[in-house]
Amino acid sequence: MENVLGFVALACGLIVGLGAIGASIGIALMGGKFLEASARQPELMNELQTKMFILAGLIDAAFLIGVAIALLFAFANPFVL
């Protein structure tokens, strides 16, 4: 039983940690491109900003789904009988 709890705790950590790596790198790359594009063509800044927020939501989606699952395991653990 303690084994199961230990593994579940590890799993939650891995889910959140690995998801965060992916999401952060994705947002960083996208943000960098946005800044470059704004510097080249400042008149497009507003349009691009709208699209940037949409993309941020999409990039964060998988990560946040992972966080929701990890929190579910942490507090309403289905592996514990």
Binding site: F53, I54, A56, G57, L58, D60, A61, A62, L64, I65, G66, V67, A68, L71, L72, F75, A76, P78
Partner: protein
């Protein structure tokens, strides 16, 4: 929090508090109190999510209707101007993505409703964590209900997947309406890899995966954001709870009160951005998916 439990039993531990607050008020279809068995259980429904989503939908519709009824073509008042700004924003986004003016007559108001409704449901997360559950504890069990209450309908996977499934049905209807059933069936087996007979099974599989992935991610993105936000609010409330039971500044628990206020402020302000952004993203994706139903590959 201890007052919320029976006098005579112990005060809830942190885990018990969170689990209690994460439990839905569930009824089966003969209106008996039941508990969910397993992750997926279709024999019952979450009464709290259904109630709040309907109430908030009616409130949203009422405000928009009021603005439309009193709309003047002269100089608009502030309320009419605000609603016009909102409707125009949604219409501009729709024009960029859905290239069929006749469809936009339905899809643009649909996107507006989705945005307003989801924003209102998400905004329930800004209420204090224990506010409505404490009120419910006073009246609910006496009326025969369970002592559970979740006030954020979009933090319930049933609600968000229901919304995204409805969007899927709208897309399927538009697919058939624009392309015709024969045309759409041909596209299902011919795209995305090519119109060769030996590619038909692969194409069909890819299309099915695409529909499933789009719908599931559409619903789960909103759920993940709202559920995580609600859970962080509960953890912050726990910090305040620990402070409330230890007034001795020499113990570490006292200073958790400051943590509660600071973390609560920061997270609330960040969450205001998140609720608006998630409602906007859901609306944009609705428009994009319906727009994709109009384009042929």
């Amino acid at each position: 929090m201890a007052a919320a439990e029976n006098a005579g039993t112990h005060a809830p531990t942190a885990g018990e508090y969170i689990r209690h607050h994460l439990h839905h008020l569930q009824k089966d279809f003969s209106f008996q109190n039941v508990e969910q068995k397993g992750i997926v259980d279709f024999s019952l429904f979450n009464l709290d999510s259904v109630f709040y989503s309907i109430v908030l939908g009616v409130i949203g519709c009422f405000f928009l209707w009021r603005a439309a009824r009193k709309a003047t073509s002269g100089v608009p008042g502030r309320f009419q101007a605000a609603v016009e700004i909102l409707a125009e924003m949604v219409e501009n986004q729709a024009k960029g993505v859905v290239h069929n003016a006749k469809s936009r007559k339905l899809v643009s108001p649909l996107a507006l409703s989705v945005f307003v409704w989801i924003f209102l449901m998400n905004a329930m997360d800004m209420l204090p964590v224990d506010a409505i559950p404490t009120l419910w504890h006073g009246v609910g069990p006496d009326m025969g209900f369970n002592n559970y209450m979740r006030v954020v309908p979009t933090a319930d996977l049933s609600t968000t997947l229901g919304l995204s499934f409805s969007v899927l049905i709208v897309c399927l209807v538009y697919n058939i309406k624009i392309k015709g059933i024969g045309g759409w069936a041909h596209e299902l087996v011919a795209a995305p890899f090519g119109d060769k007979w030996f590619l038909y099974p692969i194409n069909f599989l890819m299309q099915m995966i695409e529909f499933t992935a789009k719908t599931v991610s559409h619903g789960m993105r909103l759920f993940g954001n709202m559920f995580a936000g609600e859970l962080v609010f509960m953890l912050i409330a726990l910090m305040g709870g620990v402070w409330a039971w230890q007034f001795n500044p020499l113990t570490g628990g006292f200073w958790l009160g400051f943590g509660h206020v600071v973390a609560g402020t920061v997270w609330s302000i960040f969450h205001i951005l998140v609720i608006t952004l998630q409602a906007f993203i859901f609306m944009m994706l609705t428009l994009i998916y319906v727009g994709q139903a109009h384009d042929s590959h």
